[in-house]
Amino acid sequence: MHARFAAFALGCALAVAMLDARASEPHELLGQPAPDLVARGLTGQNVRISEFRGDVVVVSFWSGSCNTCRAQLEALDRIARTYGTAGLVVLGVNLDDNPARAEKFARAQDVGFPMLVSTTKSTGREFAVDRLPMVLFLDRAGVLRVAHREFKTRDEAIYVRELRALLNE
């Protein structure tokens, strides 16, 4: 029994270590022009990321089954309301497989920025989304400059600092 417990503990420790190592890996597209994405918004209009060249763009990938996604979306909503007039665009992209469920989750969030529902299964792969929530910051030229995985309460201040730097460029 002790041996089983030891093996279980060792397995948990290895899993935690691997997850943590992955979270700290730099995003593979960092420093490169971000892929283009077009998706339908909840208002029924299609939105294309490349049309926002000239603005700083925040793209948040999330899913209804992700626990911290809601908190991150709320934080991004606050940031969008503060810096929206300074050239900041925030987009939320739902990656749920079921479009009807994705739309239902997106509508439930009640945020002020466009929520997009991607029906293309390759979206996550194109943007190298390996964990949810994931948020990407694109500069005014469309280059991916910052990527954050997961969300903790203290991350909002970090987002604000990094976005202010991009807006001031």
């Binding site: 002790h2 060792l10 400059r145 910052v146």
Partner: protein, 222 residues
């Protein structure tokens, strides 16, 4: 006894492996922010505002303070050189793009499908799906800005591909809002002969005023 020893070893391994997980995260900073690309890419060069200085200043060179608000002569010469280089890069990029297209889509197999809209009072385009020989080859979502560009006379190349010589069939499905803002989906098809030269097909959306309905047609540019 040996069981307790193995438990102890497992706990030590647990502690060693999880130590980095509990280490304090360094503040996200400059390391978390990728520096801007120093080498101008094609898009970067094309999009850089006019007058952007792309090269580093020469070491030891001191720029004299401008007296009348104009840049000093050596800086102007450098700006002009940079602008010339930028133009050369843009020209080269365009030539490379044309060569790439000719290589990937040679004229004897090339087929291109374009879409154009006229007036647009009876139909607001939302998306388009193309099938050639029953195989989906293109699926495009149009944003309001892109639809507006089409209404203003723009022509969009929806598909560029290769087909062998012979008979083929193109089917296009148009989705959008029709009269009275109702969801509207229509299809159009054409059978065409692919010869040895490049084949161009145009999807035309026009307003049929008499019936108050949009009309979808496919035109073969012979």
């Amino acid at each position: 006894m040996h069981i307790t020893k193995s438990l102890r070893l497992a706990l030590m391994a647990l502690a060693i492996i999880t130590m980095p997980a509990f280490a304090q995260e360094p503040p996200a900073t400059p390391a978390g922010v990728a520096p801007p690309a120093e080498i101008a890419t094609d898009a970067g060069v094309a999009d850089a505002p006019a007058g952007t200085l792309l090269s580093e200043p020469v070491d030891g060179a001191e720029a004299p303070a401008p007296e009348s608000g104009e840049p000093p002569a050596d800086t102007r010469a450098l700006d002009e050189t940079v602008q010339d280089l930028k133009k050369d890069v843009v020209d080269l990029n365009r030539e490379l793009f044309v060569l790439e297209e000719e290589l990937l889509f040679p004229a004897n197999t090339q087929v291109a499908v374009f879409i154009s809209m006229d007036i647009g009072e009876f139909f607001a385009l939302d998306s388009l799906t193309l099938k050639i020989d029953n195989r989906e080859v293109a699926n495009y979502l149009y944003t309001p800005r892109e639809a507006e560009a089409l209404l203003r006379g723009g022509v969009h190349r929806v598909y560029l591909g290769n087909l062998k010589v012979g008979e083929h069939q193109l089917v296009a499905f148009f989705n959008g809002k029709g009269p009275n803002e109702r969801d509207y989906k229509r299809g159009a098809n054409i059978e065409f002969e692919k010869g040895v030269g490049a084949k161009y097909l145009e999807l035309k959306i026009t307003d049929r005023q008499r019936k108050g309905q949009p009309e979808f047609a496919i035109k073969d540019w012979e």
